[in-house]
Amino acid sequence: MAAEKKSLGKEFTKGIIKQNPVMRLVLGTCATLAVTTSLVNGFGMGISVTIVLVCSNIVISLLRKAIPNKIRIPAYIVVIASFVTLVQMVVKAYVPALDKSLGIFLPLIVVNCIILGRAEAFAGKNGVLVSALDGLGMGIGFTAACCAMGIIREFLGGGTFMTGLQSLLSVFGDGVLGGFDGIDFYKVFPFLEKLSLQPMTIMLLPSGGFFTFGVLMAVTNRLAERKGGKKAELNGCGSCPMAAICGADKAECESMKNAAAPAEKKEAAAE
């Protein structure tokens, strides 16, 4: 019993640091890069993904014996898409500002590789409780990564912290937390303007997103190495949720990653 409890805890915590989906497994990069122009946006995206992830993990785990193996990926996609639609409706209705700033990336949670990846790698094989915890842990890890990116980009790019908080809290009514709507460092420290220190708008642009992610990745790599871990890498099949339906073409998938296999080998495998 004690051992089981310990492993439950392990399944929960692994997603937060050790196997952080964004920083360690390099999954869901599109969403991470696109929406993290501010902390509030990143947090909103993280929460949406976490909800979808936990719900779909639970349902897929419940249905894992009912879903035939051959059509499991389409089945998973239907489950995930249903929950994404639900979340989309809720966000549209209650947090319209978030819906606006996430834009197309809200429906695109469907193809977020974290979710399909967890369904394929974990929920389709494990019990309900463990799967839910796994989803929750991975979701928190994703949220944390998004928040970290959001804080850095918002601070450097706009000189603010947590702006737009009220739009996220509008679900709970007006003026929650005393109407706190983030800090504008240019208002708190007026001398910044006198020094003609401008925020680096570039950090809010796409290129700043890539740059921040790269630097964060370098830092996490360094930390992981110090702990004796491995560098984060896009390891073709390992992180690709479609690896399984790539069929027997695993060798091809690998060769695509390395792009080193001779063409004849590819053809032989395709036959």
Partner: protein, 197 residues
């Protein structure tokens, strides 16, 4: 005609799917190590994007919108794309052997590529009509290809250089992507400047 040209320029340069919209980052980082693989992947993406738009636009217009089912868009689109990719694969395997050999291995990966679902949803959101949607998808696919092929060149250079150890691997790739994306900022305003919009 002007508008179609504007769409083409937007997809290629100012609104590049990878470098400006962050769609399709996974294949951009994963498959761009070598020129021929990135070209193959891009060709497959262009093909699937255009075909997916060709199928989903009528479905949305004549089925979902007509019967007030627009909330089913996400589910319907992703399923249609998944089925379509399977179908393309089967047809290709049977009748277009050489093409299948060139593009086949990339097709399953495209199902969960957010660029494909993204372009389909964007077409609907922007209210493009049928030919406009098709051109927009084609342009988006070309833009994806341009970014992939350019970046394959950049990565080739990176691999033959001395890189600080802590930046080796993904970090330097991402920083290089940042610079490429920065260079694309130079195209901002080109469409307005040419009086196309």
């Amino acid at each position: 005609m002007k508008f179609y040209f504007a769409l083409l320029l937007m997809g290629l340069l100012t609104q590049n799917f990878v470098l400006a919209k962050f769609l399709g980052i996974c294949p951009f980082l994963g498959v761009s190590k070598k020129l021929d693989t990135s070209a193959g992947m891009s060709a497959a993406v262009v093909l699937v994007m255009v075909l997916a738009t060709a199928v989903t636009w009528p479905i949305n217009e004549f089925l979902l919108e007509k019967y007030d089912l627009a909330y089913l868009q996400t589910i319907v689109f992703i399923l249609v794309i998944a089925a379509l990719v399977q179908l393309i694969e089967i047809v290709m395997k049977k009748y277009l052997k050489p093409l299948y050999k060139a593009l086949g291995i990339y097709l399953p990966l495209i199902t969960t590529n957010c660029a494909v679902l993204g372009v389909v949803i964007l077409n609907v959101d922007n209210g493009y009509n049928y030919p406009q949607s098709l051109v927009n998808s084609f342009a988006a696919g070309l833009g994806f290809g341009l970014a992939m092929i350019m970046f394959a060149g950049v990565r080739g250079r990176i691999e033959h250089n001395d890189i600080p150890k802590f930046l080796e691997g993904l970090p330097i790739t991402l920083i290089a992507a940042a610079l490429v994306s920065l260079s694309f900022l130079g195209f901002t305003g080109i469409i307005e400047g040419m009086g196309l919009m």
